[in-house]
Symmetry: C2
Subunit: 297 residues, 2 copies
C-alpha cells in the first residue's frame, strides 16, 4: 500500500482553502492525498477542518509530520517569511509551489532567502478568484475550467513540475506553462492594469462628487466596469509594488493611446474614434466567443 | 369618451421599440394610448407591429394622423433630420422628447433648426440599455427600476414636463430632473469615460498581442471590465463628439490622477497606493449597497 501524498497548504484564504477543499474532493488518480493546513491567524486552520478544507490543522510549522508537497497560498509579500518557516522541510519535499499573482518577485524572494532556487520549486498562479475572501468562501469547484499558469524555472525538477501539474489538473484546471517574464507581462496587461484603472476611476469620481451622489446615476456598464475596484486594497498594493516594471510598461502604452483618443475628441477627429472603437469591439467580440467556447468544453 | 393619446416613436431601435412595447403593455392611468412608429430602415416599423411594439406603422412622416406626443429615439447626430421631418407637427404637439445620451448637443440642434426652443420640448435620457440592439431586442421591462433623467428647459411647458414624466413613470422608470449641463457632466463621468477607457484598453492590448493570444489568460475581472468595449462604435463616436467638453474635463482629471498612481508605483510609494485603493473600495462597496437597495424596492 502506497503512503498518502501529504500536502501542506500555508495560508487558508480563498485560494488556499479552495485548493484544499478541491483536492480532498477530487483526490489523485493513483494515490490518496492527506491535506494539512496552516494559517497565521489563530483558529482559521481548525475552522478549515470543520469546513472540509483540511484533514488536519497545523498549529506550529516547527512540528510537522513528513510533508511531500507545500502550497504557499499567501500574499506575494509574505513569501519570504514562509520560506524561512519551511526551510527545514525543503530537503525532503517532492514539490513546492505558490499561487501568487506575480511570479518574478516570488522567484527573487525565494532566491534571496535560500541563496539558490531549490529543484522542488515550481511557481504557479491560478487565474481564478471570487469577490468573497477568506476560508469560509472556499469553493471546491473554484478552479474548474480555469487556467492555471505554471512558470517552471531552469532549476525545476521535471518530476516536481509533473506532480504540480497533476494536482491542478485533478481539480479541473487547464494547466499551461510560460516563462516568469511572460507571465508577469500578460498579467500586467489583462489583470493588473484593469484593476488600476478601475480603482483610479472610482476614486476620481468619488472624490469629485458631493456625497458620492454621482453614483446614483450609474448604469450597468459602470457597475460591471468598476466591480474590481472592490478588490482587497492590501493584496493589490502588494501586486503593483511586486510587478512594477511590467505594470509601468503596459500602463504607459495605455496612457499614450488614451492621449491619442483625448486629442481625437478635442479635434473632432471622428474617423479615428470610429476606427479605434470598431477595432476594440471586434477584439472584445472575439473574446466573448472564446469565453463561450471555453464554457462549452 | 376621451380620445386616446397618440404617441409617435421615431426610431425603432432597442430604446424606441422597448418604450413602445412598455407603454402599450402598461398604458396610462386615465387615458388610453395609441402607439405609432416610424423607422428610416424599410420594414422595421412593420416588424415592430408584428412584435407588439406598435399599434400602427408609419411609412411616411409627411402623412400622419393627429399626434400628441413625439419620442425621438434616434442617435444624437440624427436629431436635426428628425426635427426637419416633424416640423409641421410641432404646433399641435402636447409634448416632444428624446432619449439621447447627451443633452446639450440635442438642445443646441433643436434650437439651430427651429430658431427657438418649442414649449412642448422636454429632453430626456433613460439610464437603461442592453447589449443587444434593434427592434427584435425590445423588452417591455427595460426601464423598470431604472433612472430616467429629464432636463426640462426654461422654455418647457410644465404640462409637457408632467405628461412626459407620467409616461416614463407608467412604464416603471424613476424619473429625476436635472439641468442639461449637470446631466452631461454626470454622464461623462459615469458612462462616457468608462466606455472610453474600456475601448482604449481593449484596443491597446489587442494591437500589442500576436493573434490576440493574451486574452486567453484574462479572468472574470477583465471580462466584466471590458464588456462595454463591445458597444456600438457609431453610437459612441456620436456621443464623444457631442459631449466633447464634459468628457474632456473628466478625462483630464482622470489622466492626472492616473499619473499620480503611475508615479507612486515607480517610486514604491505603497502608502499612496493603499490610500487610493482603500478609498476606491469604500466608494465601490457603497455603490454595491445602493444597487442592492434599489433592487429591493
Amino acid at each position: 500500500m502506497t503512503q498518502p501524498l501529504n500536502i501542506l497548504i500555508i495560508g487558508l484564504g480563498l485560494i488556499g482553502a479552495s485548493f484544499g477543499k478541491a483536492i480532498r474532493h477530487q483526490g489523485l488518480a493513483e494515490r490518496s492525498v492527506f491535506v494539512l493546513g496552516y494559517d497565521r491567524s489563530q483558529g482559521v486552520a481548525e475552522q478549515a477542518v470543520a469546513l472540509g478544507v483540511l484533514d488536519q490543522a497545523v498549529s506550529d510549522l516547527a512540528w510537522l509530520p513528513k510533508i511531500d508537497v507545500v502550497v504557499m497560498a499567501v500574499p506575494v509579500m509574505a513569501i519570504g517569511t514562509v520560506i524561512d518557516d519551511i526551510r527545514p522541510l525543503l530537503g525532503s519535499l517532492q514539490a513546492l509551489t505558490d499561487v501568487g499573482s506575480v511570479k518574478g518577485q516570488v522567484v527573487r524572494t525565494v532566491r534571496e532567502r535560500l541563496g539558490t532556487l531549490p529543484a522542488c520549486f515550481v511557481p504557479g498562479h491560478p487565474i481564478a478568484g471570487a469577490e468573497q475572501s477568506g476560508v469560509t468562501a472556499a469553493k471546491a469547484d473554484l478552479f474548474e475550467h480555469h487556467m492555471h499558469i505554471l512558470t517552471p524555472l531552469p532549476e525545476s525538477d521535471p518530476a516536481a513540475v509533473q506532480l504540480i501539474t497533476q494536482l491542478w489538473q485533478a481539480i479541473g484546471a487547464d494547466v499551461v506553462e510560460m516563462s516568469v517574464e511572460r507571465h508577469d507581462e500578460v498579467l500586467a496587461a489583462t489583470s493588473h492594469l484593469p484593476h488600476l484603472l478601475a480603482f483610479s476611476l472610482v476614486d476620481t469620481l468619488a472624490r469629485e462628487s458631493e456625497n458620492r451622489e454621482i453614483f446614483k446615476y450609474a448604469a450597468g456598464g459602470f457597475r460591471d466596469f468598476s466591480r474590481i475596484a472592490a478588490s482587497d486594497p492590501t493584496m493589490w498594493h502588494d501586486i503593483f509594488l511586486s510587478n512594477k516594471d511590467a505594470t509601468l510598461k503596459v500602463l504607459r502604452r495605455f496612457q499614450a493611446d488614451l492621449t491619442i483618443l483625448e486629442q481625437a475628441i478635442e479635434h473632432d477627429d471622428g474617423d479615428l474614434l470610429q476606427t479605434v472603437f470598431t477595432r476594440a469591439k471586434s477584439a472584445r467580440d472575439q473574446f466573448t466567443q472564446m469565453l463561450a467556447e471555453r464554457q462549452k468544453n
